[in-house]
Structures are given as C-alpha cells and as structure tokens.
C-alpha cells in the first residue's frame, strides 16, 4: 500500500503543527520519521489515520484521495497504528483485545452464526501470543500488564488487523534492551508487502529498520533520504543529531 501527503498543513490557531508537508512512501517501504519533540510527527500520523483533518492538503492511499474518509473506513483499507500512550482496552483481557481486532478483520460481526470463524479467531489469538512470546498472558486484564508487555501487545494488536500500512509511534519507548531486540526482530519479520512508517527516537532502531528517513522540524519537512544521506545531512545534524536529543 503506498501513501502520500500532498502539501498537508495543520494549524492549531496561529501555530502551524505541519506546514506544506509532502511525503511519499512506496508500497512495502520501511520509512522512519524523526525530529525533535513537537516537530509534528504524531500530528502527521493523526492526519494519515483520519483522526485529524488537515487544514489544507490531501492524503492519498494507493493513489486515491482519502482525505474525507472516516477513521474506520481508512482502517478497513488496511491501515493500523500504535500510539505513544497505552491504547489497549484496559478492562479487557489480552485475548479479548486481540480478538476484537481479528473479528473486525474477518468481519465476524456480520455473521449470524459465527461458530467456525470464532474457532479461527481463538486459534489466531493463540498463534499471535506465541509470536509475541507472551502465551502466558492470554487471560490477563490489560491494565495489569507491565509496561514492556503492554507495548508488545499493542504492536501485536495493530498487526492483528493484518495491515498493509502500519504506523508505529515510538514503539520502543520504555522497553528494556532485550525487549527492544525482540521487537526489532518482530518488525523485521513482517511480510515485505507491508508498508511501515515508524516514529522513533532511538536512532539505532531507526537505522536498523528503515530504508528511508524523513526529518521534521517545527512542522517542516527538512530532509528526506536514505539513512546514510540523513546521517550526512548538515541541517539534520544541527537540529536533531547534534541537538538536545
């Protein structure tokens, strides 16, 4: 699934969170978006998912204009995302969380007698927990999970939609070294057809996963290129690599 933003601008009153941002992500590409805090990375995600309408500009998915689409309509096209904040349904178990995403994908909800499909849902919940190396947590309520476990279940929840475009907002924040390695391995094992856009502060993770990197600063796209080009870019070094981060 390819994605592009056409001169997307988002204003909050007098402040421009994004200014004329043009990003083109090819199908199957692994793209990282980096930039200091407040650069507009999360706002860009909100615009792509439809959680925020841009003040001006367009969002295209597979070359079709989706700017007017609702969040769930875009989700049904194959878009999934994670957040910096925890977004598991706190009062549901890990298995119930995953099952909601899987059922929505399999359209179980519209079946009157879902017997066979429900067994498929159960089996897929098990296999996903295996892949995430968390099978023991199946019946744990989400709010009882540890921070690292929660982040990994969140990624698995996004993957359970079988997305064609996956947006990950700082998935590694707060993970231990070992958890980080496991998560990187999991993400590198995604099918090649899946397009991934990743916001991440940990540049080791960014350079381990991304094929191309876009750099935002104060809502402006200041660079776009391969990891090597970005590392060599003087302006990026000034605002980001050499900066407070």
């Amino acid at each position: 699934m390819n994605l592009s933003t056409n001169s997307v601008t988002v204003r909050f009153g007098a402040v421009a969170a994004l200014q004329n941002v043009n990003v083109k992500v090819a199908s199957g590409e692994r793209r990282a978006v980096i930039g200091p805090n407040g650069a507009g990375k999360t706002t860009l995600f909100d615009v792509i998912t439809g959680q925020r309408r841009p003040t001006s500009g367009k969002v295209l998915i597979d070359d079709a204009d989706v700017t007017g689409f609702t969040v769930w309509r875009r989700a049904r096209l194959g878009l999934a995302r994670t957040f910096q904040r925890s977004t598991l349904f706190a009062n549901l178990t890990v298995a119930e969380n995953l099952a909601i995403a899987i059922r929505s994908r399999l359209k179980v909800g519209s079946r009157i007698w879902p017997g066979r499909l429900e067994r498929e849902v159960g089996a897929e919940v098990s296999s996903r927990l295996e892949m995430a190396r968390l099978p023991a947590l199946r019946h744990r309520l989400a709010w009882r999970l540890g921070h690292g476990e929660r982040r990994i279940v969140e990624i698995e929840l996004a993957l359970a939609r079988d997305p064609r475009l996956l947006l990950l907002d700082e998935p590694m924040a707060g993970l231990s070294g070992a958890e980080r390695e496991a998560a990187v391995t999991r993400l590198r094992a995604l099918p090649e057809a899946v397009t991934v856009i990743l916001v991440e502060h940990d540049l080791d993770v960014v350079f381990a996963i991304a094929q191309r990197v876009s750099v935002l600063d104060h809502g402006v796209l200041i660079a776009d290129g391969t990891p090597a080009e970005i590392r060599a870019n003087r302006r990026v070094q000034e605002v980001y690599l050499g900066g407070a981060d």
Binding site: Q51, R76, A90, N91, L92, S104, G109, R161
Partner: protein, 267 residues
C-alpha cells in the same frame, strides 16, 4: 434496566441523555395503546421495546449524531428539550390523568410464602428484571458485541482504528438502551401507573443509580439499582418520611469513598 442503558450510553458515547426517562414513559404509553387495541398484555410487552428501539435509532441518527462534539451543555439542552416535547405530546394525546395498565391475567392474585403474602405481579416483576439483568450481564461479559462495547467504553478512538464502524455501534447502543427503557415502562405500568411526569420521577432515581454504580458498567448499574432500591425501601422506616434523603445520602457516601462509582471504569 433503565440504569443499564443510561450507563452504557454515557460510558460509551459520552452523552448525558436526560430523555432516557421519556423513553420509559413513551414505552408505558405504547404499552397502554397496544393493550387498549389488542387486550393482550404480552403483546404490549413486546411492542413497547420494538417501538422504542425504532424511536431511539431515529433520534440518534437525526439529532444526537450532530452534537457528539458539542459538549455536555448542548446535550443537556437538547435532551431536556426532548423531555418537554415528549411530556407535552403525551398530555395532548392522552390527557393529564393517570391511566392504569391492567395486571395481566393469571398474575392478579397474591402468593403466600412463609406466611407472608406477596402480590403475584410484583414477584413477576422481580423475576423478570432478574432474568433481564442476568441476560444483560452475560451478553456484556461473554458476547462479541459486549466485548466491543466494553472496549468502546475504555477507548472508542482505538475502536475506530481497528476498523469498527462507530456510527453503527452508537446507533445500535442508543436504540437498545431506548428499547430497554420502553420495556421497563410497560413492566412497571400495572403497579406504578402510567402518567405524564413518570419520566421525571424515574430519571432522578436512575441518575443516582448510575452515579453510584459507576458509568459505563452493566455490573455497576445492577449493583447500584440493588443498593438504591434497598435504601429507598429501608430509608423511610429508619428516617421516617425521608426516603429521598436516604438515597442521596447513599450517593454522597459512595462518591466520597469512590468518586468513580462502585464499579466505575478506571481512569
């Protein structure tokens, strides 16, 4: 039954629906009308929730959908407006007097248990409400739709991102809540009577139940109803003529100890 609908509507959709009492009143009048035409109580018991489900769905699609983003003040104004319109419509059509729903045949008498006599119909109401409560609880905890609603109460934005059509979920929830309220209106008709203003008297009670039980939780609504029902029954015996004070005292105590309600969601 009323509290369950109001609680889930508030928890999921973040809408304070003051017209919930009106649905209860309309249900009673639909029951009255159907009973007048057909003479069959059980038919009325089925017709009222069906009619109210349709009315609820229409109101959600035509009015509520436009004001979800407008905040609670707009919602209170709109739903309060609805209560006034509905009560006037009822007065205009049925007059201000109290009608009584006849007790269904077979349930007019009394039953003696351990030397105490109970009106059969009241026992039926208790049984009926318990069955409905149990059914709701099972659906809430075990069904696919229940899981979606519980998830929506926790984070509805995320539900949309998982590809679930929130508009349909909202309309369905609202219609189901209205249907439950309508059903309750018919069930209590035979012993509380049917009159314009029955909506207000129940609404206050239901709001207290929802606040005590905790928003967005069926378990909370059931527990809250039992507690407030007990307070309402025991209060007058202990305090003498202060039954209103007793339920608000319970609410105040619960709010002091657990501001989110007994089984309210974690923030």
């Amino acid at each position: 039954m009323l509290a369950a609908g109001l609680s889930v509507i508030f928890g999921l959709m973040d809408v304070l629906n003051l017209a919930h009492g009106s649905f209860y009143m309309l249900g009673a009048y639909v029951g009255l009308t159907v009973l007048g035409v057909s003479g069959n109580f059980w038919l009325a018991l089925i017709a009222a929730p069906v009619a109210l489900g349709v009315i609820g769905a229409l109101i959600e699609v035509v009015f509520f959908r436009r004001i979800y983003r407008e905040g609670h003040l707009m919602q209170v104004l709109l739903t309060f407006g609805f209560t006034l319109v509905f009560v006037d419509l009822i007065r205009w059509r049925f007059g201000p007097q109290t009608h009584s729903l006849p007790t269904p045949p077979g349930l007019e008498g009394a039953v003696h248990i351990l030397g105490v006599s109970f009106a059969s119909y009241k026992l039926f109401v208790i049984l009926f409400a318990s069955v409905v409560a149990l059914g709701l609880l099972l659906a809430w905890r075990r069904s696919r739709v229940g899981a979606i609603l519980r998830a929506g109460v926790a984070d509805r934005e995320m539900l949309g991102l998982l590809g679930i059509d929130l508009k349909r979920v909202f309309t369905g929830t609202f219609a189901f809540g209205a249907a439950l309220a309508g059903l309750a209106g018919v069930v209590v008709g035979p012993y509380l009577g049917v009159y314009p203003g029955m909506d207000e008297s129940i609404l206050v009670l239901v709001l207290v139940v929802v606040v005590v039980g905790g928003l967005g939780s069926i378990e909370g609504a059931i527990l809250g109803s039992l507690l407030i029902g007990l307070a309402n029954a025991i209060g007058p015996l202990v305090l003498g003529g202060f039954e209103a004070a007793s339920i608000f005292a319970v609410m105040a105590i619960v709010l002091l100890v657990r501001p989110q309600g007994l089984l309210g969601r974690r923030q």
